[in-house]
Symmetry: C2
Subunit: 398 residues, 2 copies
């Protein structure tokens, strides 16, 4: 007797994955270099050379038993120390080893964060546009994900709808800034107001509403800016980080949970993550990868290509008449489609070998996402196709 | 509001871990080389040199984006092909890529297997003596683990009690051979009879009872023997494998689920594992480790040291009058204690700096476990301490 819940999920197919498969197929016909595949959020720049060097050095010099041995359940102690010290230096919050739980990427970190603070039936709120995997991530814990409709002007937070939806059933709020798919970085004002509302409602309802902050794009911010640190605006924040994007290591499954030191119950949370991991079967992220990232914590891949691509696309899109919030980070842009149904719009784009993802899947119908983690040369070649698409399909409209 | 279920687990402390901590502390007083620490099942031999060479070669030669990129959800296709081919060659069962799901060690594999075939409230049976982590592994999925009392003569299966406990509520049976903690390898006769009973009861109850086979010790078998392959005796077997022990890579979290090709619902099971992993947050095991193990699938660490240690200990223990089933594999031995309460026995042993684990935690009171994955030189030095312990504490008794 196979479990029906999981069997039923087999019929649902991710729109992003379908488009990515289309791109791969089309690539076999006309050469993948001629498909302007903006579907997938895979880092396009290599891991820093220092990471490779550190890995090779450890493999050559260290005792294999030490290198590949069991990691303690919350992660290797000196790795947790290094992460805590780096966070403290960077954000001025006194993280210590006991606040850090090493996890298998952001997905692993989130799986533990959700289970820390929600029982089956509890609600978690998140804000559209949002990463669609949040649905299975949350739903399969037994908690219920509810999505606050977007602020379509700036893709900050629609506070009116948020306050309506922030009922006593809500045990956690999930934010993702810099944001996939909008590319927007939440402003200090947004985070300040979010913190105030959460403090007020926690007091009113008599229970802590935790803020779960999913931050895989934290290091990919443009125009010399820094992303405001979510944890600085609300103590009851559980930070979920991944090195997938910043170090271009998505396959190595490495990240962490960082519990704010002033968080309610901070002293229990990492030990509770250890207990949770016995049920999720994850145990720890790979030991050699833990050891390696600890030595390159403050490095990133050369992410400047994403900023170059952002500017090329933003300029061309606005020039073509698209309405579009300028991305402050990530490698995504999320313009409004040129007709109401973004699915129809994206389908038409395929004729021009432009693979764009309709916003419906991100909770923002009428928009579309372009993941510009591709070579700049390809972005440049895609611009004439984009122009031709708009002129041929939408010329003379409105 | 932290989730009480996990908070409550914090007070329970693993006996094995407590003893291991005692050993470490005592080591600080008298030098760890003088503590005969038989508490933990950590491989004591290094990973094969070929593994290190393969890792270095890939890091030097391959494009980092290819090496560290996202693995497809069920694992890297050619790695799954290689695992399937190796299993087919070895066991004569026609595994193919679609039957293999790469997982984060045996713990990860089991977490997916349990969720495939049990709903909350369903029962899973296992056989004492058993690995105590099975309790949180199963309980945290919502299923219920029930433990069939041991066959204390041979540590095969107590079939009488098994048949009594195999009610219609049982959806899966979990076996671990070669066994932790007994070191015993289930015989062909045992597996044959187990398969017959499961076929019979599945027919009688009108639902498939799956067999989940936890096989991390499969490659550590003594006296030139091979462990009979569980999957050959019952088609509805879900094999859960880990490279932790065979390649001495416990920290790298690499293993797989192999679904028997003739299993009921075989075509759904790996895709369902992919769905399950969205909830457990595990995604895939690290990509570079997947790529590396695929190149050393048919190698193992030099595990002959475990056989040497087994013989040294078995001979000494029987010579000292212990009743003991001779281990056919693993790096454990599980003798009967010299008094009824193995906790008292093991406590007395600590005075001789012998760290032994009482059998109660494995569901077999009155026995104790020694994990002899330590240097042979230390095993040899421990024998006089063992003799002194027995003579001083139990001389002249019965």
């Amino acid at each position: 007797m196979l479990v029906q819940k999981y069997k039923d999920m087999l019929s649902g197919k991710s729109v992003i994955r379908q488009l990515s498969e289309f791109a791969a197929q089309r690539g076999q016909e006309i050469g993948y270099e001629n498909v302007f595949d903006y579907s997938l959020g895979n880092p396009s720049v290599p891991a820093p050379e220092e990471f490779t060097e550190v890995m090779i050095r450890m493999l050559k010099e260290r005792e294999p038993r030490e290198l590949h041995g069991y990691s303690p359940n919350p992660g290797i102690a000196h790795v947790r120390d290094a992460v805590a010290a780096s966070l403290e230096k960077r954000f001025g919050i006194p993280y210590r080893r006991e606040h850090i739980f090493m996890a298998s990427g952001a997905a692993g970190a989130l799986a533990h964060a959700f289970r820390l603070v929600t029982e089956p039936g509890d609600e978690i709120l998140t804000f559209a546009p949002f990463f669609p995997e949040y649905h299975p991530y949350v739903d399969l814990t037994g908690a219920v994900l509810k999505v606050v409709p977007p602020d379509c002007e700036a893709f900050q937070i629609n506070f009116n709808r948020f306050e309506e939806m922030l009922t006593p059933k809500v045990m956690a709020v999930l934010v993702n800034t810099p944001n996939n798919p909008s590319g927007v970085v939440y402003s200090e004002e947004t985070l300040q107001r979010l913190g105030e509302i959460l403090r007020e409602k926690s007091a009113e309802y008599g229970h802590t509403i935790y803020l779960i902050s999913d931050e895989p794009y934290r290091e990919i911010v443009f125009d010399g800016a820094e992303a405001p640190c979510v944890s600085r605006f609300y103590n009851n924040t559980i930070m979920c980080y991944s090195f997938s994007k910043s170090l271009s290591l998505p396959g190595e499954r490495i990240g962490y949970v960082a519990v704010h030191p002033e968080c309610d119950g901070a002293e229990y949370m990492v030990p509770m993550c250890v207990q949770i991991s016995r049920g999720t079967g994850h145990n720890c992220p790979p030991s050699i990868i833990q050891l390696a990232v600890a030595q390159v914590l403050d490095l990133t891949s050369d992410t400047s290509v994403y900023e170059t691509n952002r500017s090329l696309l933003y300029n061309e899109l606005t020039d073509l008449g698209f309405t579009c919030v300028k991305p402050g980070g990530t490698f995504y842009i999320f313009p409004r489609a040129l007709e109401e149904d973004a699915n129809v719009f994206c389908k038409k784009a395929l004729k021009y070998d432009l693979v764009l993802v309709p916003g419906d899947t991100f909770g923002a119908p009428g928009f579309f996402r372009m993941a510009y983690c591709i070579d700049t040369e390809k972005v440049e070649r895609s611009l004439p196709a984009l122009r031709r698409f708009v002129e041929e399909e939408y010329k003379g409209r409105d």
